[in-house]
């Protein structure tokens, strides 16, 4: 079996070399990785209960999935990253007393947190956070994600955007990019409700959009009306009279029927 492990290690080394190159050949790397994954299924230690003899095999499997995570980011495939990280998780959690800690663990955990954040899955973000030890939370990669989350919930968007520019690792770029898009639309939502009018320059600065053309396109996408170098937001709340909308009416009907049913049961 050790032969298989050695073979796997060689393939892994090639993949990692590919990863470290400035312009990795992704299709080739994926192909190698798939081969490696098939090889993993043949290892006996991974199928049965964990004991110390299968340690080598575990380490190989862990490194494989770590490489898969990095590859997914280079490929900008969020779903693939999520899937591979899920496979990686048991190695970090359940086998933590069996294996020596991985040097890439904190980076990947940080990246995963960033993924949840950029997908706006805050509830899962917090359950992930509960899994981490205190020392892990102080790690630069992880604490970066935590700080961003705090800014996001607080509403300090300016701080968030400036923070996300100083990402601690190049792999973070992909996620900060997605995140800043999310934040941009968040800010736009805020502008719509909080302002009556706003000059072009100010709005551009707030949304951190560089060129006027880009901005006009953005404004048109959102259906803002532009007048004399100013955006005027139509207050939806003011024009609408406080009568009930369909949703509310439906929920009212539902509630009343439920009361009738319960009352009938009592009497």
């Amino acid at each position: 079996m050790s032969q298989l492990v050695n073979q796997g290690k060689e393939t892994l080394a090639t993949i990692e070399k590919e990863l470290n190159r400035s312009k990795p050949d992704l299709p080739q790397a994926w192909k190698l990785l798939n081969d490696l994954k098939i090889l993993l299924t043949k290892l006996p230690g991974l199928q049965n209960k964990a004991d110390s003899s299968s340690k080598e095999e575990f380490l190989l499997a862990r490194s494989t999935f770590e490489a898969a995570c990095f590859l997914s980011i280079l490929e900008t495939d969020m779903e693939s990253f999520e899937r591979h990280f899920m496979q990686l998780k048991p190695f970090y959690l359940d086998f933590s007393n069996l294996l020596s800690p991985s040097s890439k663990e904190s980076l990947l955990v940080g990246l995963n947190l960033m993924r949840l954040l950029s997908q706006n899955r805050i509830a899962e973000f917090h359950s992930e956070l509960e899994l981490l030890q205190k020392s892990m939370k102080e790690d630069p990669y992880v604490s970066f994600a935590i700080r961003l989350e705090q800014c996001l919930t607080e509403g300090s968007y300016a701080k968030l955007l400036s923070l996300s520019k100083s990402s601690p690792n190049e792999y973070f770029h992909y996620f900060t990019q997605v995140l800043s898009n999310t934040v941009q639309s968040d800010i736009a939502d805020c502008l719509e409700t909080a302002y009556k009018y706003l000059s072009f320059e100010d709005a551009m600065e707030m949304l951190s959009i560089g060129s006027v053309d880009e901005f006009i396109k953005f404004a048109q996408d959102r259906g803002w009306s532009l007048e004399k170098q100013q955006i005027v937001f139509h207050k939806t709340g003011e024009t609408e009279n406080p009568s009930l909308n369909t949703d509310q009416i439906l929920s009212l009907i539902e509630q009343n029927i439920a009361y009738a049913k319960e009352l009938e049961r009592i009497v």
Partner: protein, 510 residues
């Protein structure tokens, strides 16, 4: 020394009095214990599960007065008049956990034993001779008593061994009368593991046991094991798994209130990690309501801590009297200060409190919730500002809230407006925030929502009470005489016989 004599005498009297008091206590506990064991046997023979729960209602009281001497006495007593069997062997093993068993025959013990024998004759008469062999229920009950004693004394390793023996022993049975007992066996088994920090090792075993309990319709076991599993997951921060477990299992409808309270507490903790604060609040309040009101102070304090935090996170400030409940004031003091910080929207005071008590929050497992409170403090501060001023400059907002840059302050205000926390308009060029007239609340859906909450609560209570009621057996059965009953049982037995025979015939044909 002359003065010492009367004092000594006093002392002597004192100790004598103490000793008699002790024996008195021992006596009452012993009779209580015997009564319970007898009750247990009756319960098993009549298959009346209610009697078993009655036995367990006295469990805590007995637990307080347990001693090795007492346990040895009871165990020997159970062994004496029973034929030697596998069950007796099991009990014999118990004695090795009790160091007193070797040297227990002092004068006191001797006297007690005579007593015991006298009692035993009566006891035998009362239960009849039918209970010749030891019932597994009795064995398990004795094991539970010993385990509790070991745990209370802090003998963790022995307790672990003892409970493990018990759990393996119980796996061999499938009797509904054992349900309550085995549920408790699992509880102490898990507790022993927890004290030793080995909780992770038994997760699979608990899951398997839960599956078995579900298949056997063992409701007591289901409830207990579900709670143990949730506790296990939460201990290791595995909220994801805990949530999945909850969504795929059903808490049994017939259960003790205490288990329900624990279930709601764990559920509340899961929900507040997932930021579902309204549901978390509902669960935690239920937990507090269902928990026993006079005892279980530790549980109530812990649940109250979470309830306070969740309430703060939803933007409400708990009433002051929550913090002043008897026995809780000291434990809740840090939370009171937190609440004060949130209420006043004073960020610097809040941060000071957090720093001061961070270790406390960490120990309580509430630290992550506390860090989430920061934005609530800001929101509360903003609310106060907009209520107090009809127009305020962004720069002043920044100063008042202790924020870093004016730009961020503006964004925070904008977000608060969008989230509906405050009702205001920002004028960017002029650099101020103008709050709008507050809307007339009764034109909105708000009153309807509050009414709905209350109506639903009342209906829930009504439904719960209806469900909790116990109805007397129908009159028809009461009228059935002993003869008739025997007749009926006989018929049923015959029917079962013929069915079995038919089955066998069927097998032959096949």
């Amino acid at each position: 020394m002359a003065t010492a004599v009367p004092m000594d005498q006093n002392n002597l009297n004192g100790t004598l009095a103490d000793a008699t008091k002790d024996t008195m206590e021992l006596d009452t506990t012993l009779t209580g214990l015997r009564k319970n064991l007898a009750l247990l046997e009756v319960a098993v023979l009549t298959k009346e599960l209610r009697l078993i729960s009655r036995v367990f209602r006295q469990f805590t009281r007995i637990r307080k007065h347990l001693s090795e001497q007492l346990l040895v006495l009871v165990i020997k007593e159970q062994l004496q008049n029973r034929s030697s069997s596998a069950a007796a062997m099991m009990i014999h093993q118990l004695l090795k956990f009790l160091p007193e068993s070797i040297s227990h025959i002092d004068e006191n013990g001797h006297a007690m034993e005579v007593d015991a024998r006298m009692d035993e004759k009566q006891h035998k008469k009362s239960t009849g001779e039918s209970a010749d062999s030891l019932l597994p229920e009795v064995v398990a009950f004795l094991y539970l008593l010993v385990s509790v004693r070991l745990l209370d004394q802090g003998k963790k390793e022995e307790a672990l061994e003892c409970t493990t023996n018990l759990v393996t022993y119980l796996k061999g049975f499938n009797r509904r009368t054992l349900d309550e007992i085995s549920a408790r066996a699992y509880y102490f088994w898990s507790l022993a593991h927890e004290r030793l920090g080995k909780l992770r090792n038994i997760r699979e075993a608990l899951l398997a046991a839960h599956a078995t309990a579900v298949l056997r319709h063992d409701y007591a076991g289901q409830a207990m094991l579900l709670n143990l599993l949730l506790r296990n997951y939460i201990q290791y921060g595995l909220y994801d798994q805990a949530d999945k477990l909850v969504s795929r299992t059903k808490f049994p409808a017939t259960r003790s209130n205490n288990q329900l309270a624990r279930y709601f507490y764990y559920l509340g903790r899961i929900r507040c990690i997932q930021l579902d604060y309204t549901d978390a609040m509902r669960c935690l309040l239920q937990a507090l309501r269902k928990a026993p009101q006079n005892i279980a102070l530790g549980f109530r304090i812990q649940a109250q801590k979470f309830a306070v935090l969740v309430q703060l996170l939803t933007g409400e400030v708990p009433e002051r009297k929550t913090f002043l409940q008897p026995g809780m004031a000291k434990a809740l003091a840090p939370y009171l200060q937190l609440a004060r910080g949130v209420k006043n929207g004073d960020l610097s005071y809040f941060q000071q409190v957090v720093e001061q008590f961070y270790s406390v929050f960490e120990r309580d497992g509430t630290a992550s919730l506390v860090t989430r409170l920061r934005q609530n403090v800001i929101k509360a501060g903003l609310k106060r500002l907009t209520v107090a001023y009809s127009r305020i400059s962004i720069e002043d907002v920044r100063k008042a809230l202790n924020l870093e840059t004016a730009r961020d302050a503006e964004f925070i205000v904008a977000k608060a407006i969008r989230d509906g926390v405050i009702d205001a308009i920002i004028y960017h060029k002029e650099g101020y925030v103008e709050s709008r007239e507050s809307t007339y609340l009764y034109t909105t859906m708000e009153p309807q929502h509050s009414f709905h909450e209350r109506i639903r609560f009342c209906l829930d209570i009504h439904n719960e009470t209806v469900r909790a009621m116990r109805f007397p057996e129908s009159d028809k059965k009461d009228l059935e005489t002993l003869e008739e009953r025997r007749e009926r049982l006989k018929e049923e037995q015959e029917l079962a016989h013929t069915l079995v025979e038919e089955d066998e015939e069927d097998d032959d044909i096949l």
